[in-house]
Symmetry: C2
Subunit: 356 residues, 2 copies
């Protein structure tokens, strides 16, 4: 069965997702019985291409690095002057894959794309934190009302299956709290600081490695982590957060050196911890640098790895660690969300894992 | 909707499962729209009770500690001379919950119960390692052929959602290897040995805490871990294991004290590690005490906690740690499997997590 995908945003994540679609084409067909077909790509600065019969994804990826790459022969005949809004509103597709950059407040065009698609009964898969952090309940309701689904595995911990684990594997339990290291850039910088590096130099190293997100202040001031914590609070604990202003946020840019020294002396490590607790229906969330002792499950998380500890009623603490960023790693979240939409027949079948 | 459950085995796991059914009755109805009803309990030495209109589970649990508890007034009228085999073969139920004790080779009555139920098109949820370790492929095929499902979350790491995570959250990736601490008893004992305790005393402490399984040799000789590794190899890597004899197994009962000293000097910890690698369609599996350095994700696993590191093609290493044993913790696996059978409408809905 053909599944037509409209891709909005063609940065690192969109590119990672596209590469995986090509690389895993056979596996996806064999194991899930679907043929994903990209029918449109809308970019911020290179225009939009659209063709309901499918786009040559390989060619697009080959040209991606070049200026105005969508205007290159071999693709340019698919260029359209129709806006992304219009394509979402009236285009021929089954799934909207939305992976534009998070805008503060969660509003802006991403939110309107997601709303339009869901209103049309088209399922949405997204890696964009803003709309989920600020409008999760509304969007889920819109999806349900229109018989569509909204999946967002890549909004927290990239493709590491946090939401699959918690929503499918722990749905019979109640989660009352979480503690997470949710921003790889901060974790990487904190490791360097604790080894005596200066902040500016550590930040530079993080940028050179490609860890920092578009705006480094989102990372180092704890905003990115706070948005993720807002998502976790709503999705895992069913506790809405009135606004990001209700979260106590302290980033890592002005860490007191004495604090670093104290931690070092006590053999502790400082991590930027997002903490959420459910209390009487509300949730209390904080994001702040926190010293952890060596017996804490998040003490050892190398470089840009992320991790989360969930407190559940029956099982106690459950800890999941894994990739927290990266083009392929986040693109994988979109792939997995796509497969989840069509995966109901697959669940737990004996051919679950091929050797490919 | 009523869901009729036949429970085979009423030890710690069956009891934990039953308690959770009572405790979470409201949540299960509200969130999943089902009313689980135990219609029969077959025990090893106290007889069988059966009533298709449902059994008073509270009363059964109250009396559980007593001798011949199923013969006590209030329950005894449900006592039946019909054998477990016959009830499975012709009884009126929707799901078989099988939680008897693992028999080596995986054969014996548990296997025949599971086969009978699947042949009748009844789904099976089980915490019994034997049948899954030795007959996974056959049983899955039998389930598919008859339109039934076979779920077994509790066979490895109790209710910690290992199979949900890997089968649902990583189905688009390929898992090429795993490393796990899968036996809480051994982990607990190894911690004590490393603090200078003698083996016999450490074992005694583990038994006093109720960690040891029925036969301590299954734990300390690495057999329990090897069975779990066989399951993981088949389920996660699609690599069948010809027989338990194909696994290199070394337990913890005759650890060389020099080995413990060396580890201590290097600040390492010895864990009983089950390791699996897929190579050219086959898998190589070993179970042996292994020194881990402090940067290994399984280095710090307190007491009876279990953990696993999966190697995936796209995401790299993913680590999951959590409860590995316990009456409620393993009973939860049965509950979660039950909910998974009826959970398709639930997946990712906005009411996923109640605050109960």
């Amino acid at each position: 069965m053909k599944v037509k995908i409209l891709l909005i945003g063609f940065g690192n994540v969109g590119k990672g997702f596209s590469s995986l679609l090509i690389e895993k084409k056979e596996m996806i067909r064999e194991r899930f019985g679907i043929d994903p077909l990209i029918v449109g790509i809308c970019t911020r600065s290179s225009g939009n291409i659209y063709d309901p019969s499918g786009i040559d994804l390989k060619r697009v990826l080959e040209l991606k690095g070049e200026n105005n790459f969508l205007s290159t022969p071999g693709i340019s005949d698919r260029l359209t002057s129709v806006s992304a809004d219009e394509i979402v509103n009236s285009g021929d597709f089954d799934v909207l894959a939305e992976c534009t950059i998070t805008e503060m407040g969660g509003k802006g065009s991403a939110l309107s794309y997601i709303r339009s698609a869901l209103t049309r009964g088209k399922s949405v898969i997204t890696t964009n934190k803003g709309p989920i952090a600020f409008f999760y309940k509304d969007l889920q309701l819109l999806a349900e009302t229109n018989g569509a689904r909204l999946l967002f595995e890549g909004t927290v911990m990239a493709g590491t299956p946090l939401f699959s684990t918690s929503l499918l594997g722990l749905s019979g339990s109640s989660i009352s709290g979480f503690e997470g290291v949710l921003n790889g850039t901060c974790n990487f910088i904190l490791d360097l600081l604790q080894n005596g590096e200066e902040f500016e130099k550590a930040l530079k190293q993080a940028q050179q490695r490609g860890y920092a997100e578009a705006d480094p202040s989102m990372d180092i001031e704890g905003i990115d982590t706070a948005l993720k914590a807002m998502i976790l609070s709503q999705v895992l604990m069913n506790s809405p957060v009135p606004d990001i202003g209700a979260i106590e946020i302290k980033g890592i840019s002005d860490l007191d050196p004495a604090c670093l020294n104290r931690a070092r002396e006590k053999n502790e490590r400082i991590r930027l911890i997002a903490k959420g607790e459910r209390m009487n229906g509300d949730s209390r969330i904080s994001v702040k640098p926190t010293p952890l002792s060596p017996d804490h499950p998040l003490y050892y998380l190398p470089g840009a790895v992320n991790g989360i500890v969930l407190s559940s009623d029956v099982l106690g603490s459950i800890c999941l660690t894994g990739a927290g960023a990266g083009s392929r790693e986040t693109g994988f979240a979109l792939l997995q969300d796509l497969l989840s939409l069509w995966g109901d027949n697959f669940r737990f079948s004996s051919s679950a894992f091929s050797s490919k």
